[in-house]
Amino acid sequence: MARLETLARIIRSKNATPFYLTLDLFFESKDSYTRVKNSKALNKEIISTLYKVPLNFVKDIFFIDSVLAVKIVMLKRTPSGDPGFLDIYGMQQNIPLLGVEIP
């Protein structure tokens, strides 16, 4: 097992409109990318659990082989600017992903 943060070079989060959060992962080595992709450890269920959103909030998980990247798209629990949530741009929301264990 390896933590996801030891396999990906970039793990970033950002709003896409005030209502979506997107997580982008970029890998340096094809081996790490393929290991993560084939493990199926990044799936809608785990994202829903980690981010405490209903399963139907997790819209898509794209594996983009051509650039060794993964893109995760979900509806935000709290839209940008609604009181109670202090990350207007969504730029610090990558943290729950870092510790995902990849077989």
Binding site: F19, K71, V73, S80, P83, D87
Partner: protein, 467 residues
Amino acid sequence: MELRVLGTFLNHGYVWPEDNFVEALKTRKPDFIAGQGTNTDPGPGYLGRGINIIPKMFVKKVRRQLIVNAKKAGVPFCISVGTSGCDEVLYKSELEIIDEVAREANIKVKLAIISGEINKDYLRGHLASGVKIPRLIDHPRLSENLTLDDVNSATRVVAQMGHEPIMKALDHNVDGVITGRAMDTALFMAEPSRRGFDKALVAHMAKVMECGAIATTLKNPKDPPTNGSMDGIFGVLHDDHFLVSPINPKQKCTIASVLSHSFYERADPFVERMPGGALNIADAIYEQVDEQTVKVSNSKWIEEDYTIKLEGVKSIGFRSISLMGIRNQSTIRVVDKLVERVRSRLNDQFEPLQEGKDYNLYFHVYGKNAILGPIEPLTNTDPHEVALLAEAVATSQELATALMVNARVLFTNQQFEGRITTAGNESIPWSPSEPALGEVHIFNIMHRMPIKDPCEPFKMDIIEFPR
């Protein structure tokens, strides 16, 4: 056919290197300049209050850089301005700034000014005629179809214009076009569309260039860290491909840098929906042609019904805050309990007003979980210092401040087992200590409105400066 496009750094109001821009104007001979200055990234507050995120003195500085240099070189420009792109910024501060710039530089400029704000009566008219305006995003916080109540309660509504109103403006032989809210890509698509280039390539080049040098990367990764991504970008459009390269000599475009940018802030990495159709880049071909330049071809365009994205916000009250610093371990250990006691005592004190109806209270502990809240994976840490940020959003500013003053006093003086700080539980950073932060807005409209004439909702004026 060939068309040369200079993309300026995004947002048009932050620091950007004028030298590279002037050099690119001189040596690379662009046919036009484009750059974005509107977005929803900074949240609903700017549309709600009708203000620009960038202060006027700074907008003037970058506007001077653009307008004076572009006029001197005889190159037309298309930019969007104002953060939210509302009329309040466009017609008040922006026109004043351009007037001052033209006067001080002793130049004459003829500009097309296009509003991006949507009149609420225009929306009511559409709703009354039975047009369905579905939500853009399937989020439960938005009405499935736009309602009259959404429109009535909105403080302001803007729409992202497509490239058509800008094309029409360019027909007036202007030195430049300044728009309110617009699709970033529309600014880059207007001129090439006028000249009849392939729509898919026009849209794809616009998408790569819309954020300036974000689609580039450092040429030598060993160079010291720079803000090289805060700079311009250059595109050359041909009949069956386009070329893209940076204008900063220390940057380069690579296949990866161009491709990664197409994922950024997007809900779909392959399909970009625009007002009259969708750009599909799934089969696009990327080639590195020299150290700095990437060639792109084989983009696809799928025609769709013409719709524009509406964005609106409504007011939900007024915010005051209190920031309290805590350094004592004995206090940090029980901070969550203290906060809950503060909340319940406040609720008692402010009766018959009710939390949830007349006001809402939020407490965030920086150092523990203020940023991630319930999804913070680390729960057993023992920080040596935390900041407690208390927020009230209430029906009046006075009530919000009264809540915060009382929250702070209740926190200061709370007794608990093991308390050694009997003079007070926190450090108070400022005097006065409970800043009033003004009106609070939230997004309530993010819908897709079908329209027949892409120019219809967007008012245009031709103005010569100085006025």
